[in-house]
Symmetry: C2
Subunit: 307 residues, 2 copies
């Protein structure tokens, strides 16, 4: 039996681990793939306070080492089911059931991919899913944003302050984004390419161009761009949680209050899985709050059990 | 005219600076004393993800350097007044008025001091105001908590899981804390010393003992302790803000929503000044969100002005 099980070993889960174990709670972090979450796949991080510039992998390693040294246990395995009812909760993996008194959900999410040739290869080498993280690398360069929703339009507008030229590529003949935003696109000189999909990413070390195709005529074209920001949505990892009664918003992100509490007693959530701005700095802040809230929650029955 | 003025150069303000300037906003941080806020006065930080252990001063220096390199302007000076009405806001210091389109309040707060001999000298050498930060340094040691409110009781309870012996020193004959918490103190073996005040801190390099006095009889006593946690309240720095209509809670902390918005359009707050758990990790997360919210707010008029 652990005091706390943290599901997910990205920055939010690792931060929660630091605060939980320092409060004397026996803590297990369950990670399905790679410790550090998405962080090891980020090339350079320049917006986490304390590091001017650090490789994502290095920052993840530093956090993991810090958490291990403090005595948090790690288990690599995928959560198959959970039982969040009652005072004692349990998390089920292939290896068995793991009981605990509080659960912190830090399962993150993933950027929706286009799933086309070269996308994976050039991620971090011209292809990005996070303008807040990467836009400054594209100062005075030519970039494209892929997507047609409010977020894509917002990304294109932001990039237009930084980049030399911004294309906005959308597969439909109209943008879904609000009219006001569309007018701003015009003001800012963003060039929409409608009815178009990206079919391939090209380059050598870095991205140099993309092949796009008009979905009506089928006619292909090559667009020379140094950067492509893919903004077609984020998918939070909440399948098992939803099935077990954790309340989510219309996009599937877990609803939390300022103490990172979910709708279920003893269950907290932190990081990208709760939506918001999805930054490392917000993830570590939310992880901290979730752990301290979990501590408050389990203190009483915990002591009673300990006698 | 700046796009954003951030009031306060602690971790929340510095993080806000990073995100604001990376969004292309012209950004000024106004700090009344020392860049880094309270951080330079913290000896060792062991709970900020990314650093196993770092001196507060060093972490502050790293953040300040990062922010400066990105092009944030700094001004050392005290805010005397502010005007938050309308689209263009202004912040007044002795040197003059500074106009901006959005304000981020990150003025922090300070732990209420006892104001007795040796307190300052032994801060970081046995005297602490933050159990969440420092309790692990006192494993199996004898400590005292000073205070009688819910927070002091909560601190004493937490420390009883870590320390060998915990005293709770309160100047009145009853604790203000809830009855339930008081019963827990008994369960956990915390020893209350009521009707007592701390008069002096003693030691050489590190704290060794304190002199306390019974407020009724005037009889002094010496208590051998390696740690004293002073938990008599936090005073947020919100005088000027309150006068200018920023809504605060009953303890004087600025009220914010999940986007760090205050009750006034274009005015945001982040870090200790908003209350909560008051950790570096939460401060940087809130600073990030405040800056991105400010960016969203000023984008439209900003562009209109720019033509």
């Amino acid at each position: 039996m652990h005091d706390v099980i943290i599901i997910g070993g990205g920055p939010a889960g690792l931060s929660a681990g630091i605060y939980a174990v320092r409060r004397g709670l026996s803590t297990l972090i369950l990670e399905k793939k790679i410790l550090g979450g998405q962080l090891p796949f980020v090339r350079e991080v320049e917006n986490y306070p304390g590091f001017k510039s650090i490789l994502g992998k290095e920052l993840a390693d530093r956090m993991v080492e810090q958490v291990k040294q403090l005595g948090v246990e790690f288990l690599v395995g995928e959560m198959e089911d959970m039982n969040l009812k009652g005072e004692i909760k349990s998390i089920k993996t292939k290896e068995g059931e793991h009981a605990c008194r509080a659960v912190i959900i830090a399962t993150g999410g993933e950027y929706q991919k286009l799933g086309v040739s070269g996308e994976k290869e050039f991620t971090g080498r011209g292809v990005s899913y996070c303008p807040t993280c990467d836009a400054p690398f594209f100062r005075d360069k030519i970039v494209a944003v892929v997507g047609g929703g409010n977020r894509a339009v917002s990304d294109a507008l932001y990039l237009s302050d930084v980049a030399k030229e911004v294309y906005l590529i959308h597969r439909r003949d109209k943008l879904r984004a609000e009219q006001a935003s569309q007018e701003k696109l015009k003001e800012k000189g963003v060039k929409p390419i409608l009815n178009a999909v990206v079919e391939e990413f090209h380059g050598d070390v870095m991205l140099k161009s993309i092949r796009i195709k008009d979905v009506e005529t089928g006619i292909p074209a090559v667009l020379n761009v140094q950067g492509v920001f893919i903004s077609v949505g984020t998918i939070p990892h909440t399948e098992v949680e939803k099935k077990n009664g954790v309340a989510v918003d219309e996009k599937g992100f877990i609803k939390v209050d300022r103490n990172q509490k979910t709708n279920i007693s003893g269950v907290y959530a932190a990081g990208d899985v709760t939506g918001g701005v999805m930054q490392i700095s917000t993830a570590v802040g939310e992880g901290c709050v979730a752990a301290l809230s979990a501590y408050e929650h389990i203190r009483e029955p915990y002591w009673k059990k300990k006698g």
